[in-house]
Amino acid sequence: MTAATQLLARLTGHVHSWSAIAARAPRVAMPLSPKDPTTVPTRLADQYESLLRECATGADEVLLHAAYELGRQMLSTRLGVLDVVALHTRLMGDTVPDGGADEIVPWLHAADLILLEVLTPFEMTHRGFRTANAALRASEERYRELMENANDAIFTVDLDGRLTSLNRAGERLIGYSRRDALQMRLDAIIAPEHPDLVRTLHRHALDLPHERMRYQVDVLASDGRRIPVEISARGIFEGDALVGLQGIARDVTDRRNAETALRHLNRHLEQKAKRIAHALHDEAGQLLASVYLRVAEIADELSPPARRSVEDLRTLLDQVDDQIRRLAHELRPTILDDLGLVPACQFLAEGVSKRARLTITVGGSTGGRLHSDVETALYRVAQEALTNVARHAHAASAAVSFERTDRVLKGCVRDDGVGFDVQAVLQRTGHRGLGLIGMRERLVAVGGQLHVRSAPGEGTAIEFDVPLES
């Protein structure tokens, strides 16, 4: 006999025909659960069976409490409601008492109570899931709204590089509707110079699972425009498995334009400096040379004591000559163009060292020549930093160093001087604040960045880096 026929009999009120059914029906289990009913641990199944046998004499509170505890145990062994119902159905067939309807009907009622009691802890959990799900839905809704209204494009792609979601800002950026975009692969809207972007992102997501990766690429919009964007991406993991990528793309057209303008301006300034340096070196040098000759002629015509004062004049002229050469050099060091960044910095350090009486070491390597815009920018930053050390730091020593990694050139100018409050200086727009801003702008123009580390009494470190074109 099955629980279903029993239920049917009770629902239709044909209770009087029960003994007949009980007599005829074979005692077989009707599997309700897709799971093998034997998945219920034997110990729990045995307990359930004895509850059903005991309730033949009625389900008292002791029995119901035992049923509740059994339900709790079943829940904590991760059984589902269907498992419990399947077990119940199977055991009902085995435990139905011998006898007529007057015995079977009260037993059925008691067995119902047992089942309900066993299922009660499940109900508590289900309500919990409902509450938790409602909270989750609300939080997902808020998240979706935030994402939709963001100014940056936010997207996800699957492991094949197909777009799986895109917000409104993303639609605006690429000019495709979401419906069209979700049919596309990320490759199709990224400029062909970055053919392996998705694969690179995957590799980085696997190497550094919790870090955001930043890339500058051009996006191809639906109207054919190229839009420079900075993509910040991260892997989406389910457990330990990478299942996709999530990215934020920011239109950096304005920033890119500003950087280009700044780079042109810097180039222009450097050319001007070069012309002034030449004028100073060549023309002032020429004039000085003729002054030398005239002074020598005059000296020949003078008496020995007067000649000695003119000799002093010549020593002064030597110093003027030296100063002009140095100034011309610092204005635009030919050594930077001829020999590169480190030799130029060494020459610069010698000059500052002499004038400010402090020890300056220059170390590290740039690993070969760099683009002249980059070399100039780094030289100017080092120059400004050393000028600041000489003027403000009261340092005994300073060190300039360079280090090249795969894609980045890092530099640092460090001193052991008095230090300063970085925030306060950056907020003032005095010379020193402007100096720091100037350094930053030099670097930004070549895509680099600047970090100033200092505190009163703790020296100063100006750290900077520039990405290198591969």
Partner: protein, 140 residues
């Protein structure tokens, strides 16, 4: 309905120190809930809450008291269930009440379950001192 427990009945208290006390509390809770005219689902709720609170007492404090009070005289009737013990207390109430469905894999039974099943829930606990859980449910 005959035998209905009036809303003015005196509080019923039992000292909880054994499974037998849990069973007695369940029986009394079922009786009171029926008497207040609670439906079958709400009766099951009341019995569940009594079971969870009393088993908590046994599990964490060894012994304590459970009090059932019918409330809401003249208005919608309800049942107040109060459990108190001198156990170790609950050092972190927020944690004890947190549903951990997705993170810790807990099943949402115990105090979070009780909190969810009842209309009102209040708990005071000082580690090492008295812990009191007071809950109320009103007839639906």
């Amino acid at each position: 309905m005959s035998g209905r427990t009036g809303p003015d009945a005196a509080p019923w208290t039992i000292h909880v120190d054994s499974d037998a006390a849990i069973v007695a509390a369940r029986r009394q809770g079922r009786h009171l809930a029926h008497g207040l005219g609670f439906g079958a689902a709400q009766v099951a709720t009341v019995v569940t809450v009594i079971t969870e609170l009393t088993r908590n007492i046994l599990l964490y404090a060894g012994e304590g008291d459970l009090t059932l009070t019918t409330i809401g005289a003249g208005r919608r009737p309800g049942l107040e269930i109060t459990a108190s013990d001198h156990g170790p207390g609950i050092a972190n109430l927020t944690e004890a009440l947190a549903d951990g469905f997705s993170t810790s894999g807990r099943l949402g039974l115990g105090l979070p379950g009780v909190k969810r099943l009842m209309d009102e829930f209040d708990i005071t606990s000082t580690p090492g001192c008295l812990t009191t859980v007071t809950t109320r449910t009103w007839r639906k």
